[in-house]
């Protein structure tokens, strides 16, 4: 026993030894070096261990360290980390200096991540913090202007609709040019699922506040790991994960209101009468009809029982005549509110991130609303030293009360075209004019307010994005990771049109209900090894793996009519089940990928990657594609001759070349098909529906990128410059074939196009100290040119004015050139532009009747030449201000969708834009608006008259915040209280004559919408949103 006791004591001591060693307690305070303000939430970690803590709201911390040799690492996002050896200190105060764009940041690369300074490809990163709390429904809208070379056009102000995103230009014509979106490693469903109105945007099921970072893979080196799906760029979205330590709770509430950015001035009642009197008189003069003749246009318009009397409900020329601004009825102030709760924390073994959001946003057009409830749980668990498992799960329910497509009479903005003498309310019924039992044929067109009041179309979607992983550390340097993801999207669209809508939906005379159920199941698995090893000066990294994805989309649809009354709204009560259908489509991908990185002495960087992609979409003769890439980097500042340079703190030259593909060519474009949808009068029928092509495959893009990353003055100024050349061949074209074949198009890989451009990113820290001012700027220029479409004529969009032609950018406007007005008689004139025998162009003009003989010309590019954004952030004490402008320049917009009716110098009865008042008269001969001629074309044909400049500069977002002083906050047991005011699209600077220069009508065919950009068709302008918010952390 005696001999045992000392042993036991020794053992007991041994057990306690480490504890005793932890007896060294270090306290201190972490502040910023600029203004010495405390840094709450900074990480203090014992180097080489998992032991660590975070600073409190005062910036103070306390930690036990084992010995005086221990090293503490102090770090904070956006600051340069510091390592301090404890030695004999017991109080360690640390000042961290900011590192605006630290080159030691990690960027996500697809199946892995890499330190930014080692990256040889081009990857743009947008931090979650940059886009948080932006009052837009989807993440793609939020990144607008944030990343160089990423052009985002929200298209319409309707909520939750599809958005155009182009990474380094249009890479396709008939296939999609939208990037691939990957959330936590899984390619997600982004395709339009709309069955009414414009395209939907499945990305609006994702809460942007859950996002940690967004990486956009732009060049071939970065993208090749996604092979046949990367040619349009890849957007990698990484959601937030838990951090060990204290549980942090953050609560955010914001409340705001939106209004349309801009309106267009239309004629008021008096102007309307005056203008149409003139137009009708002119027409009668041309016809040689006396204006008093009962059959004259003047009498048709003004006479007893004429147009004005009828459509003013008899008030024309009476004391009751009033002005009704129908356009104003279309707009409303839309309130919005958003509540966010985020909780993160955990132990070293298990970490979690939980979030919930409620968003309720009302549109700026009447009848439009989007409501989303979403939740997320991200878990990581270290089961054993060698095994880590985790789960990310996002759930969302989005309810979108939608509006009809732009081209529908029920589109509220089309109210602008209604007669300003028509009362909003029919005095006989007290209901919106045109509502039965009142006369349904007033106003001029269907009154959209009837649709707003008596019809509804609501899309409800449930989304589950779940991704589970297991990661095995086989060796310290070798890991295997297996991911299994599922993206379930269940969407129900329910429409009901009460009998009042009969003028617009003629089958709704006793009510009409429809119901669409869409179910998309998308499975994906990634299984890959990754290897990372540093051997002296050599750093080696490798990734090898496979991935398999299968996606199925099912649709069922039922429609019923003949309801007992308007109180019955479900199809169960429909006496006639008037229509129904089901359909299904599938696609699958099987892929293998490899990436190798090599680095020598942090100086020379080499990377190569490749992917083999097989897909059910490709023809049997070309089922698998191979997509390799290679890149090189040279960190010049690591060389001896620059190492201690005080000015140039960082310089890296990099170059990459490789090949990627675009497989968004549709699910079955390769097959020669018959379809069974050609029934007649209740008998089943079939028809040839598609010409086959067994050689059909992906589109191939070969891209070279040369870049310079630089940092000056200890990286206070840093930036990137890139030049790229992107050549796409094997473009999938719906090659026009003579319609005499019984087909219009055949799919073939025949076209070529290229994109070239510069990108420039600059981040500067303009002042440091108590007053901090930073600027970050990105500008990109892209030149798009179609080089070969084998003489095909590809045109579409409004009146087929958008065209794809060799030597021109995709989707240029191609139309007759307007030559203004003949001073002598008010005739609209068009340039002939036909070639003369001597090779010159005939610049003589023709009038209306010679319109057909005028040659169409290229009249502008809907794709901007320059796209950019600039953010300035200021902070002083607890006040912060962020001002973000974005803009585009060099693009054109086609206003003909509106102009052919409403800026058409009075050809139809549609209310006219106010600029038409300037129409030619003998007294006003110098104008570009032709003489008003009622029901007689005089320049309202498609022409450059309606092609407008689309450049704009917009104060996209501005946020002013105030952090309550810490002492105050502590007193109420909080860690952080921040109040802010914010505005979206506060000011827009443009010469565009229409509503909003950020426009793409939502009502084009699927085919046209791929290339026919920049069309306005009574398209809803963007919202201008003002909001206040409060953020509380504890």
């Amino acid at each position: 026993m005696r001999r045992i006791f000392p042993l036991m004591l020794l053992a007991w001591l041994a057990c306690w030894l480490p504890v005793a060693a932890q007896g060294v307690r270090i306290t201190g305070k972490v502040t910023t070096s600029d203004d010495a303000s405390p840094l709450p939430g900074a990480s203090v970690q014992l180097k080489g261990t998992n032991v660590g803590t975070q600073t409190d709201s005062e910036g103070s911390y306390a930690i036990e360290v084992p010995s005086s040799n221990s090293v503490l690492v102090f770090s904070f996002v956006g600051m340069v980390a510091q390592e301090i050896t404890v030695a004999n200190q017991s109080t360690i105060d640390v000042k961290l200096s900011s590192d605006v764009r630290s080159l030691s940041e990690v960027v996500v690369t697809g199946y892995g991540s890499q330190i930014k300074r080692d990256v040889t490809g081009n990857i743009a990163q947008v931090k979650g913090t940059e886009i948080q709390n932006m009052p837009v429904a989807s993440v793609d809208a939020a990144i607008q202007g944030r990343a160089a070379g990423v052009y985002v056009n929200s298209g319409t102000g309707k909520l939750g609709q599809a958005i155009n995103v182009r990474v380094r230009g249009n890479s396709s014509i008939s296939a999609s040019s939208q990037p691939l979106y990957v959330v936590d490693g899984m390619p997600v469903t982004t395709a339009d699922l709309s069955n009414n109105g414009g395209s939907t945007n499945p990305l609006s099921d994702i809460n942007s506040n859950d996002i940690e970072s967004i990486e956009i893979l732009k060049d071939a080196s970065a993208g090749a790991i996604y092979g046949s799906r990367a040619a349009n760029g890849v957007v990698l979205i990484t959601t937030k994960r838990g951090k060990a330590g204290k549980t942090n709770v953050s609560l955010n509430y914001q409340l705001g209101s939106s209004e349309a950015t801009r309106r267009v001035k239309f004629l008021n009642a008096d102007e309307y009468v005056k203008f149409y009197t003139m137009a009708a008189n002119n027409r009668d003069r041309i016809d040689g009809t006396d204006t008093q003749d009962p059959d004259s246009y003047t009498q048709y318009m003004l006479g007893a029982g004429g147009f004005l009397e009828y459509y003013s409900l008899g008030t024309y020329n009476t004391p009751q005549q009033q002005n009704y601004s129908w356009q104003d009825q279309a707009f409303q102030k839309g309130p919005m509110q958003q509540l966010d709760l985020q909780v993160n924390g955990g132990s070293e073994k298990t970490k979690f991130f939980l979030s919930g959001q409620y968003l309720d946003q009302t549109g700026t057009l009447v009848g439009n609303n989007l409501e989303r409830i979403s939740g997320r749980m991200n878990l990581d668990h270290q089961a054993y030293k060698w095994l880590q498992v985790g789960l990310s799960m996002g759930l969302a329910r989005t309810v979108n009360r939608r509006l009809p497509g732009d081209n529908a009479f029920s589109n509220p903005l089309q109210m602008a075209a209604l007669t300003p003498l028509t009362p909003f309310t029919d005095p006989k019924t007290g209901l919106p004019t045109g509502t039965p039992p009142g006369d349904v044929n007033v106003p001029l067109y269907f009154n959209p307010m009837i649709s707003i009041n008596y019809a509804k179309f609501e899309a409800t979607s449930f989304r589950n994005l779940t991704n589970a992983y297991a990661q095995i550390n086989i060796l310290p340097e070798l890991k295997f990771r297996s991911e299994l993801g599922i993206d379930l999207l269940n969407q129900n669209e329910e429409g009901y049109y009460q009998s009042q809508n009969v003028r617009n939906v003629s089958t709704a005379s006793s009510g009409l209900g429809n119901n669409y159920a869409t179910f998309v199941t998308n499975y994906n698995t990634n299984n890959f090894f990754s290897y990372d090893k540093t051997l002296g000066l050599h750093g080696i990294g490798a990734t090898l793996g496979m991935s398999y994805q299968q996606s199925q989309r099912k649709l069922s649809f039922v429609e019923g009519t003949q309801f007992p009354s308007d109180s019955y709204k479900k199809i169960a009560s429909a006496a006639t089940k008037s229509d129904g259908s089901t359909s299904e489509t599938n696609f699958r991908f099987l892929s293998y990928f490899l990436r190798m990185n090599y680095k020598f002495a942090d100086k020379y960087l080499l990377s190569a990657s490749a992917r083999i992609d097989g897909s059910s979409r490709f023809g049997v003769n070309s089922r698998y594609g191979f997509f390799p890439s290679a890149s090189l980097g040279w960190v010049v500042t690591e060389e001896g001759f620059l190492k201690n340079n005080n000015v140039l703190s960082f310089l890296k030259l990099r170059g990459s070349y490789g090949s990627t593909g675009n497989s968004e060519i549709g699910d079955f474009p390769q097959l020669g098909l018959f379809a069974g949808d050609a029934g007649y009068a209740g008998s089943a029928g079939q028809r040839p529906s598609q010409i086959g092509n067994p050689n059909l495959k992906w589109e191939t893009t070969r891209q070279a990128d040369f870049g310079v990353d630089f940092g000056l003055f200890n990286n206070r100024i840093n930036g990137e410059i890139d030049y790229y050349v992107k050549k796409t061949n094997g473009l999938l074209l719906e090659v026009n074939v003579p319609a005499t074949s019984g087909f219009s198009v055949q799919y073939a890989n025949v076209g070529k196009l290229e994109n070239k451009g510069f990108e420039f990113v600059l981040n500067t820290q303009n002042t440091v100290g108590a007053f901090r001012w930073t600027t970050s700027l990105n500008v990109a220029n892209n030149k798009n040119k179609v080089t070969d479409i084998q003489g095909q004529v590809i045109e579409g969009g409004i009146r087929s004015m958008s065209r794809v032609m060799e030597g021109q950018p995709v989707g240029v406007f191609y139309t007759v050139e307007y030559a203004g007005v003949d001073r002598a008689n008010g005739n609209a004139l068009f340039y002939k532009n036909t070639p003369n025998p001597d090779g010159t162009v005939d610049r003589s003009t023709v009038t209306n009747s010679g319109y057909n003989s005028a040659q169409r010309v290229v009249a502008g590019n809907p794709n901007p030449k320059l796209v950019g954004g600039i953010t300035n952030t200021f902070s002083y004490k607890g006040i912060d201000l962020s001002v973000f402008f974005n803009g585009v320049s060099g693009n054109k917009i086609n206003f003909y969708g509106v102009g052919q009716y409403s800026s058409a110098n009075g050809i139809y009865e549609d209310n006219q834009t106010a600029d038409q008042l300037n129409a030619w008269t003998p007294e006003n001969p110098d104008t570009d608006v032709p003489e008003a001629r009622f029901y007689r074309g005089n320049g309202n044909q498609a022409s450059t008259r309606y092609i407008f400049n689309g450049s704009y500069l917009r104060l996209r977002s501005i946020t002013l915040g105030y952090n309550l002083p810490t002492e105050l906050v502590r007193r109420i047991k909080m860690e952080k209280v921040r109040v802010y005011v914010s505005a979206l699209n506060l000011a827009t600077f443009t010469n565009y004559k229409g509503w909003d220069p950020e426009v793409n009508t939502d009502d084009l065919s699927e085919k046209d919408s791929k290339f026919a950009l920049g069309n306005d068709f009574y398209t809803a302008p963007q919202p201008r949103t003002l909001l206040v918010g409060i953020n509380v952390g504890f």
Partner: protein, 456 residues
């Protein structure tokens, strides 16, 4: 770390297992089938024939476009136009552009239907023998009918210059499987197209049964032939075809004029006994584009619909005699519309017996013959039904006027004016403005085509 010995091979095999997935990439569509298996049985050909009717029924073919094009291009101040469809306004103003949507779609959709017919006609050998004649007859009827309507809309009128050299429309008589340069074919001459039309329709007439539910019959072929012959000025043949339809007793004049229309609202979707052939519209299938543009929503008559674009002006209404029931077959809101096309799901009328009587009367008059009946008897049959007094004499002029009133807004106007060489307003019958342009899209894609005069 011993376990690594098992893990790595296991993981590697898991990785490679995926190679077994290759066959998973063979995914077939679910709504469509491969063209190589589509025409394998008699039933397959029969349903493809239904597809031909579906193609014929297209709004830009027999669903309305051929008829309203004729009415708008042939109109001189009897119709008003107030819609926003520029394609229609261009026709109304006789200032068509080569991108006119109707010109483009009617051309395209006509050939879609023709290709379906060609598919049927190429697979007749697998059709059950007892059905073969009928199926060939129906496909030929549809193909011949479409070629006839194409050639009279897109080419010079028969007899305006040299039929053998005037360009008609391209004749495609084989189904398309792939498209090569060989499919870029020029326009056949007007005479060649008419020859093909006559071949198809005469053959159809000989193959088709006398009754065939809603589908084409021998008499539908006869009725179409009577139009073709009339267009060619072959009055004897036109008269004989019309006479054959009349004397078959397969059809009879409706007792009242008003009961001829509203096939869905008043007749449960069935054709009146006077109809020889129509495109059937149901709530599930088919659209009546005559309704779309001539019709309008009348609150008092549920089930009516339409854009109300084409209005009937006083000049037309003034043509009717006082007691003419047809002169009251209008409805007036702020504009006046014909009642013929108010029924949203009304069948799209193609031929009715009254036309046969009027054709026989006109031809008999011109030939000074009395086949079947005297022209006066035929004329008065139509007049008395409309509530008018019997005429005491029939002249070509009075028969043509009766034809204009009886068959108003049914697609005859332009062609009747052209064949009788009458002006449309100030435009002579052979004005290039009264001929559709070859669609710009076709001109661009097929350099073999020549554009019609006035559109270059």
């Amino acid at each position: 770390m011993k376990k690594n010995r098992y893990i790595i091979p296991a993981l590697l095999s898991a990785l490679l297992m995926a190679t077994g997935c290759d066959n998973r990439l063979d995914v077939q569509p679910t709504q469509s089938i491969d063209e190589n298996v589509a025409l394998g049985t008699s039933r397959d050909v029969e349903v493809t024939l239904i597809g031909c009717y579906d193609g014929l029924q297209d709004v830009d073919v027999y669903g309305g476009a051929f008829q309203y094009a004729s009415e708008l291009l042939g109109n001189s101040d009897e119709l008003g136009f107030g819609g926003t469809f520029q394609n229609l306004l261009e026709m109304y103003n006789k200032e068509m552009t080569t991108n006119n949507v109707t010109a483009t779609s009617t051309w395209r959709d006509s050939y879609v239907a023709i290709n379906r017919c060609n598919n049927v006609l190429s697979a007749l050998d697998i059709v059950d023998e007892d059905k073969r004649a009928r199926i060939e007859g129906e496909a030929r009827f549809i193909r011949g009918s479409i070629y006839f309507d194409l050639v009279r809309l897109y080419a010079k009128t028969w007899g305006d210059g040299d039929n053998a050299s005037n360009p008609g429309v391209p004749l495609v008589l084989k189904p398309t499987r792939g498209v090569t340069d060989a499919d870029k074919i020029p326009r056949n001459a007007v005479a060649e197209v008419y020859a093909q039309v006559l071949e198809d329709l005469t053959k159809a007439k000989s193959l088709l049964p006398e009754s065939n539910t809603i589908y084409a019959t021998k008499y539908a072929a006869s009725a179409q032939l009577s139009r073709v012959y009339l267009m060619q000025g072959n009055y004897a043949a036109a008269r004989d075809e019309a006479n054959e339809v009349i004397t078959s007793d397969a059809f009879s004049l409706n007792p009242t004029f008003e009961s001829l229309f509203f096939t869905f609202l008043d007749n449960g979707g069935a054709n009146p006994e006077e109809y020889i052939f129509s495109m059937i519209v149901t709530q599930q299938d088919g659209t009546n584009d005559m309704n779309t543009f001539f019709g309008t929503t009348i609150s008092a008559i549920p089930g009516t619909a339409g854009r109300g674009d084409i209005r009937i002006l006083a000049k037309h209404r003034g043509l009717y005699e006082a007691s003419d029931k047809r002169g009251a077959f209008f409805v007036t809101t702020n504009n006046t519309f014909t009642r013929k096309h108010l029924d949203k799901f009304g069948n799209v009328l193609q031929f009715r017996l009254a036309e046969m009587y009027l054709t026989r009367a006109e031809a008999n008059l011109r030939l000074n013959s009395q086949t079947g009946a005297t022209p006066l008897a035929d004329l008065n049959l139509i007049r008395t039904r409309a509530g008018l007094k019997a005429a005491s004499a029939a002249t070509i002029e009075s028969v043509l006027k009766e034809r204009h009133l009886e068959l108003a807004f049914e697609g005859h106007t332009l062609h009747d004016l052209k064949r009788t060489r009458q002006n449309v307003g100030a435009l002579p019958y052979n004005s290039p403005k009264l001929i559709m342009p070859i669609p710009q899209r076709e001109m661009d894609v097929n350099k073999q085509l020549v554009q019609n005069q006035g559109y270059n």
